[in-house]
Amino acid sequence: MSDPILSIDALTIDLPAGADRPHAVEDVSFDLSKGEILCVVGESGSGKSMTANALMGLLPDGVTVGRGRAVFDGTDVLPLSEVRKQALRGARIGMIFQEPMTALNPLMRIGDQIAEVFAAHKLHSKSERRARALALVKEVGLPDPEKIIRAYPFQLSGGQRQRAMIAMALALEPEILIADEPTTALDVTTQAQILRLILALREKHGMAVMFITHDFGVVAEIADRVIVMRHGRIVEAGLAQQVLETPQHSYTRALLDAIPTGRVPDLQVITAAPALEIRNLNKIYRTGGGVFRPAREVRAVNDVTLTIAKGEVLGLVGESGSGKSTLGRAVVRLVTPDSGQVLVGGVDLAALDAKALRQQRHRVQMVFQDPYASLNPRHRILRSLSDGPIAKGVPKRQAHTRARELLDIVGLGADAATRFPHEFSGGQRQRIGIARALAMDPELIIADEAVSALDVSIQAQVLALLADLRRKMGLSILFITHDLRVAAQVCDRIAVMQYGRLVEVGPVREVFHAPQQPYTRELLAAVPGAGWAVAPEAVSA
């Protein structure tokens, strides 16, 4: 806490008139010391990013600093002119963002985008800029630097882009690096690499890092100190270990509690009767192809055989591109597999023609990832819930009654039926999504990243609802997720996918505690904060 390089004092940021609250950030004060990693944690809308944006002078239109100071190197940077802020930005305070896919200019070469930082601050000659860009690319661990600096962003993977972003932010050796959810959009193994990179760079350059995240796992991984924000205010601040282990504020506790712990459940008694049998399923995507060039093939699902027993929750985990979503969609026949069988209740869904399929659709239902895209914005909830049953032959009145019942069951109340989707929050919509799946009385539910888009506390509520429903209704669920901790919490068995193949299948306990395959081990090791969250329980198990 000695020697603060940045000192924020009673910062208040005003939102434009008509917003849902008057201030984005209210009366926030904290210090940032040299070489320190400070994590700012909070859920969406907590104001955690606004603080950073205010510092950089990058507040959205209409949002203004109301009160407070931000003293950096003896100067309050908030009232500085745009020109002086420009001089500060990039040179003394660097920043990286959440979406590496969109944060780079798609039309400029990586090298040019890095060199541009020097140009912006009128440093170095042209050739020198290039040499430095090359060195930076090397430093952030990008392979084949010569090639990378000539590449365009679309030619890089997400992790590589984030490294390139970091290279830009570090170009002028800033005293402060602001990282705004820099790993949220990345796969878990990539996230681990980026976190290690940031730690290493901090070590080497001694810069202070203000790391904004919603993920306590990440906090456990890298934070020296933590600030927890809620509704624009700081609710708790302290050393990382203190906050994580002995949270003082109830909100912090709630947040920590909401995090799936990695505590694995006891083995469930599983019936032998299968709810779903997948046999030798294959799906190949062919892209391009034409008169002049061969098609490119991606084996999204490669000879997968898998069974889910009645009443079982099977977790399907893997990183992006592993084929787990394709497998899920193939099971419900939103994707038609190239070969193999999908047996549900004795019917091979993979083999049905369009008409027969329509009649059998009700057997498997899906809960989708994006709560904002999964409901037709032009239909009332009642219609979204009853169209399917009515098409299946349920009398209209009965379908409507059932829809209201289900809305009650998922905790929204029957009144929700007459409203439109835009009147609900993300978590509520996900409940509606669950109700919709249930309305069809399915034999199997596929939950495709069903809680990934939700804030931790909401996530916990929805997971609790699922667990509750499962207990009450004996649901069979294929639970697709990238989040191993979530999987560990709700699943009976885990199936790990990589490159379209099943790598490992087994009870959660076995897979987590005694992974057989190197990839599974790598995956588990990469989970941020894993050591902290899983370890104590794991030992006891």
């Binding site: 745009e82 990039g90 963002f97 200019n105 798609p106 541009e116 912006a120 034409g290 002049f292």
Partner: protein, 325 residues
């Protein structure tokens, strides 16, 4: 996929499209009442049926329609556009005579509209919400809503007749004996009014699009990145926003540029500009089948050419295209 194979593929498609256009237009035009023989005879003033029959035989119009179509398609495939009944010369020569004037008019108005449109669009976007933005936007909207021919007539009335600043019609001063620079200057003066009238309408289109596109791109993440680097507003606008914002404008411009060729009929009529738009209109009235078909083919070919050019430009500007597959 390399640029060359793309272009090659596009060319094959283009040939097929052109053939289809030739066939469709062939039937359309033959469906019109009257035929060139009747029109030519009509102009002669006193044709007996014998004379008309002679004409039809000479033009091959006495053949069954499918035979005429077949011979036309054969000709087109050998790049022969046939012979103009009305003008008594090869259609190719007729079009070659007229095309330069049309190209000069349309390309200059294209350049005017695109450059002014982009410039004003950028300016308006930079001042969004301010009075100067509203003024620019409103002016563009007015140009956009004004009937082209009406604006043309008014322009002649004001600048040519009342003020006498510029020639009101024609391509050059006839029989002036000018050559070299003098002639160029002369043509340029004749070009100003038609090119401006035609250009201002499209300028409005490009300006609106550029403005909207600039505003949209300026909301994107990488613009924030650029600001975080400490770049100045002007550099960000030029290097980051504009380049990305121009992509949709390029697409639209490519589409419009091709259409301009065939769409200059009105301007060419009012300004007596000796281009192919007028040639088409006159040939249509005269049922000069081969000439109309020829003009259609050439303008469609121009559309395709411009589409291909747009593609190339697009590929040069946007590295993502073409590398994707």
């Amino acid at each position: 996929m390399s640029l060359l194979t793309t272009i090659f593929g596009r060319l094959i498609k283009a040939v097929l499209t052109l053939l289809a256009i030739a066939v469709l237009n062939f039937f359309l035009i033959h469906a019109a009442p009257g035929d060139p023989a009747a029109v030519i005879a009509g102009e002669a003033g006193a044709a007996d049926p014998l004379f008309i029959a002679q004409l039809r035989e000479r033009f091959g119009l006495d053949q069954p329609l499918y035979v005429q179509l077949w011979s036309y398609v054969k000709n087109v495939l050998t790049l022969d556009l046939g012979y103009s009944f009305r003008q008594g010369m090869p259609v190719y020569d007729l079009i070659a005579d007229r095309l330069p004037a049309t190209l000069l008019l349309t390309l200059s108005s294209f350049v005017i509209s695109l450059s002014l449109g982009i410039a004003f669009g950028v300016a308006a976007a930079a001042r969004v919400g301010k009075a100067s933005d509203s003024i620019l936007t409103t002016i563009a909207l007015l140009f956009y809503a004004t009937p082209l021919y009406w604006a043309a007539l008014m322009a002649v009335l004001v600048f040519s007749v009342q003020l006498g600043w510029l020639p009101g019609f024609g391509y050059e001063t006839v029989g002036s004996g000018y050559s070299g620079l003098q002639r160029t200057w002369d043509i340029l003066q004749h070009l100003i009014l038609p090119a401006l009238t035609l250009g201002l309408f499209f300028m409005a289109v490009y300006m609106r699009m550029t403005r909207a596109s600039m505003l949209e791109v300026s909301q994107m993440d990488f613009v924030k990145t650029a600001r975080a680097k400490g770049l100045s507003g002007a550099v960000i606008r030029r290097r980051h926003i504009l380049r990305n914002a121009l992509l949709p404008v390029v697409t639209l411009a490519g589409l419009q540029a091709g259409q301009l060729i065939g769409g200059a009929v009105l301007t060419e009529t009012v300004f007596a500009w000796p281009g192919i738009g007028r040639l088409m209109f006159e040939s249509l009235e005269a049922r000069d089948y081969n000439t109309i078909l020829g003009v259609f083919l050439v303008s469609a070919a121009m559309v395709i050419l411009f589409n291909i050019l747009t593609d190339i430009v697009y590929r040069l500007v946007d590295p993502r295209i073409g590398a994707k597959s």
